[in-house]
C-alpha cells in the first residue's frame, strides 16, 4: 500500500482544475502548468526509485481488498512510462509558449494538456481493465479538445473523423470488456490473468484477445486500422501534434503489450502470430507512406506507424530479450518523436511551408537546427551511439532467438527506409540552393522554440549513451512483462 504512486496522476489532475480558473490570464496559466509538471516529474522520479528499490508498488483504492477494489499498479513499466510522459510534456509545453498562440492559450489549452497527461498516466498505471477504459476516455476527451481548438477548417474536418473513429473503437472496447467479464467474471487485471490461466484460454478467450487487438490497434494505429491517423494528425498545431505523436498511439501500444503479456499468453501460436504478422505489415505500410510523401509532417507521421510496428514486433516474440527491446524502443520512440515533431515545427516556422520541394539551403542560415535535426534523424534510425540503437538491437536479437528470421529481416530493412525518409527531409530542406524562407521570423520566438527542442534532442542522446546505466530499470520492466506472476503476486498479496 503506497499512495505515492498515485501522485503523478493526481498532481496533473489537480493542476488542471486550478487552470480552469483564470482562463484569460496567460502568465498564471503558464506558470501553473510548469509548476504542476515539475512537481509531478519529481514525484515520478521518486516513484521510479521506489519501484527500483522495493519492487512493484500497488494501492487498491478505498481500502478494499485486491480483486474487489480498483487497483493501481506502479511497476517498472508503468513508472518509467509515466516519467517519460511527464518529461516530454514539460518540453512540449515549453515549446508551445513560442508557437501555440494567444487565442488557444486563453481557451483551455493548458487544462487540456494537463487532462491528457492525467489520462495517459492513469492508463499506464491502472490495474483494472474498466478503469483503463475510463482513463482512455479521459485522454481522448482531452485530445478532442486539443485537436479542434483553434477552429481552423482542417481541424474541424479532421476532428470529426478522429472523434468518429475513437467513439467506435471505444464502443468496441466496452463490448470487449463485457465479453471478457462474462467469461472470467472479474475486472481486476491481475485477477483476470489468474482466471484465464485457470481455464487455460479456451477459444472464446482467443476471440476476445483478437477483439482487444482490434480495439487497441485502432488507438495505436496498426496496419488495417491506421487509416485515420495520417490525416487526423496533420490538422492540429505542432505542439499538439508532438504531444499526440509522442503519447497517444503509445498508450495503445502499451495496452496491447499489457494485455498480450498478462492475459493472453496461453495460445501464442495464434494470438502472437497474428500480432507478428500485423506488426510486420504495419511496418511495411508505414514505410510506403514515409517514402510516398513530400510533406514533412506526413513523413514523420508515417514514421510513428513504423515505430508502432517495430515495438509490437518485439512484443510478439514473447521472449525476454525482445520484450526488453520493445520497452527500450518504446521510451526512445516517445522521446525522439516529440523531438522530431518539434524540429519540423521549427523548419515549417522558418520556411513558412511544409512542402519539401519548396525548401532548401537552410543549413546556411540555421546551422545548429540542421545538425540537431541530423542527430535526431540518426537517433530515430538507430545509429549506434544514439538512442534508437539498443532497443532495435534487442528486438532483432529476440526475433532471431524466436526463429522468425524473415520477419526480423523486414524490421532490419525498415531501418534503411526510415533513414532514407529522414535523410530526404535533411537533404531537401538543409542542403542545396536557398529555397523559400518565411519573411517574419522573430529571433526571440525562434529561440523559444529551439531551446526546448535542443534539450530534448540532447536528452535522447543521453538515453542512447546511458543505455548501460539504464539497463537495470529496463530489464526489471522486461521481467515483469515476461512473467505475469510477478504482477499478479504484487497485486493479490500486496492487498492483504
Amino acid at each position: 500500500m503506497s499512495n505515492f504512486l498515485l501522485l503523478p496522476i493526481i498532481i496533473p489532475f489537480f493542476f488542471a482544475m486550478l487552470l480552469l480558473f483564470g482562463q484569460k490570464n496567460i502568465a498564471y496559466q503558464r506558470i501553473t502548468t510548469l509548476l504542476g509538471l515539475v512537481i509531478s516529474i519529481i514525484c515520478a522520479i521518486g516513484l521510479v526509485s521506489n519501484v527500483y528499490m522495493d519492487g512493484p508498488q500497488t494501492v487498491t483504492l478505498g481500502n478494499w481488498p485486491a480483486p474487489f477494489g480498483i487497483t493501481m499498479m506502479g511497476d517498472m513499466v508503468a513508472s518509467v512510462l509515466m516519467l517519460t510522459t511527464l518529461v516530454i510534456s514539460l518540453f512540449i509545453v515549453w515549446y508551445g509558449f513560442g508557437s501555440i498562440g494567444k487565442e488557444r492559450e486563453q481557451f483551455f489549452y493548458y487544462p487540456g494538456i494537463m487532462f491528457i497527461i492525467t489520462g495517459v498516466n492513469g492508463a499506464f498505471t491502472t490495474g483494472d481493465i474498466f478503469n483503463l477504459f475510463v482513463f482512455f476516455e479521459v485522454l481522448l476527451m482531452a485530445s478532442y479538445l486539443l485537436i479542434v481548438l483553434g477552429g481552423e477548417k482542417a481541424q474541424l474536418r479532421e476532428s470529426i473523423k478522429y472523434i468518429l473513429v475513437n467513439v467506435i473503437s471505444s464502443a468496441l472496447f466496452v463490448v470487449a470488456v463485457a465479453y471478457l467479464y462474462s467469461v472470467v467474471g472479474t475486472l481486476s487485471m491481475a485477477d483476470i490473468s489468474l482466471k484465464i490461466a485457470e481455464i487455460n484460454q479456451p477459444g472464446i478467450i482467443t476471440v476476445i484477445a483478437v477483439l482487444f487487438l482490434l480495439v487497441f490497434g485502432m488507438k495505436a494505429a496498426i496496419f488495417p486500422l491506421y487509416f485515420w491517423l495520417p490525416s487526423a494528425y496533420s490538422a492540429p498545431p505542432i505542439p499538439v501534434l508532438a504531444l499526440f505523436g509522442a503519447l497517444l498511439t503509445k498508450v495503445g501500444v502499451y495496452a496491447i503489450t499489457r494485455t498480450y503479456t498478462l492475459f493472453f499468453t496461453h495460445d501464442l501460436s495464434y494470438t502472437h502470430e497474428l500480432l507478428l504478422i500485423l506488426a510486420v505489415v504495419t511496418i511495411i505500410a508505414g514505410c510506403i507512406g514515409a517514402l510516398a510523401h513530400f510533406d514533412v509532417k506526413q513523413i514523420i507521421i508515417y514514421n510513428i506507424i513504423i515505430a508502432v510496428g517495430v515495438i509490437l514486433f518485439g512484443v510478439a516474440q514473447m521472449n525476454e530479450v525482445a520484450l526488453q527491446g520493445a520497452f527500450v524502443y518504446l521510451i526512445h520512440d516517445m522521446i525522439i518523436k516529440a523531438a522530431l515533431f518539434m524540429l519540423i515545427g521549427i523548419v515549417i516556422y522558418v520556411t513558412g511551408t511544409s512542402n519539401l520541394r519548396k525548401m532548401g539551403g537552410l543549413i546556411q542560415t540555421y546551422p545548429t537546427l540542421g545538425w540537431f535535426f541530423l542527430i535526431a534523424g540518426f537517433g530515430l534510425v538507430g545509429v549506434p551511439p544514439l538512442s534508437g540503437f539498443v532497443g532495435k538491437l534487442l528486438i532483432i536479437q529476440g526475433g532471431f532467438i524466436a526463429g522468425n528470421t524473415w520477419s526480423t529481416l523486414v524490421v532490419l530493412a525498415s531501418s534503411i527506409i526510415v533513414l532514407l525518409s529522414v535523410m530526404r527531409i535533411f537533404i531537401y530542406a538543409f542542403w542545396g540552393e536557398q529555397g523559400q524562407l518565411s519573411t517574419d521570423v522573430q529571433k526571440r520566438k525562434y529561440n523559444r522554440m529551439f531551446i526546448p527542442t535542443m534539450l530534448l534532442v540532447i536528452l535522447s542522446i543521453f538515453y542512447g549513451i546511458g543505455a548501460e546505466w539504464l539497463n537495470p530499470f529496463m530489464s526489471d520492466a522486461a521481467k515483469i512483462l515476461m512473467d505475469p506472476s510477478i504482477y499478479t503476486d504484487a497485486v493479490m498479496k500486496g492487498g492483504e
Binding site: M1, N3, I10, F14, M17, F21, Q23, G62, N63, M72
Partner: protein
Amino acid sequence: MKTNDVIMQFTAKLVFFIIFFFAVHLFFAGHYTPGGGFVGGLVTASAIVLLIIAFDLKTVQTILPINYINMVAIGLILALGTAAFSMFTGKPFFTHYYDYFNLPILGKTSLHTAALFDLGVYLVVVGVTMTIIQTIGEDE
C-alpha cells in the same frame, strides 16, 4: 408581435422550486435509494433550463449570476479533495469515512464522506450541463 407568456412564466416560477427540491431530495437519497449526484445535478440543471425557456438567457443570468466553468472546477476539486483526504491519514486514496451523529432536528443520522464526493459530482454535472446549454444558446 410580442407574445404574452404570463402563465408560462408564473408556472415556471412555482415549478422551479418543486423541481429544485426534488433534485435535492434525489441527491441526499442516493446512498440508500435510487438517486445521487448525477441525477440530482441533471434535475437541477433542468429546473434552470425551465427558467431559461420561460424567461430568457439574460434574465436567468442576472438572477443566477453563476460562472458555471468555475462551478465545474470547484466540483472537481471537492471530489478530488474528498478522495485525497485519506491520503493524509495514511489510508489508501479514496477511503471514505462515516459515523452516526445526533443532529438537532433530524435525529440520529449517518454522515458519510461519500456525500461530499457526490456533491462534487453534482456541481460538475450542473456546471457542465449549464455551460453546454448557455454556450449553444448564446451562439448566433
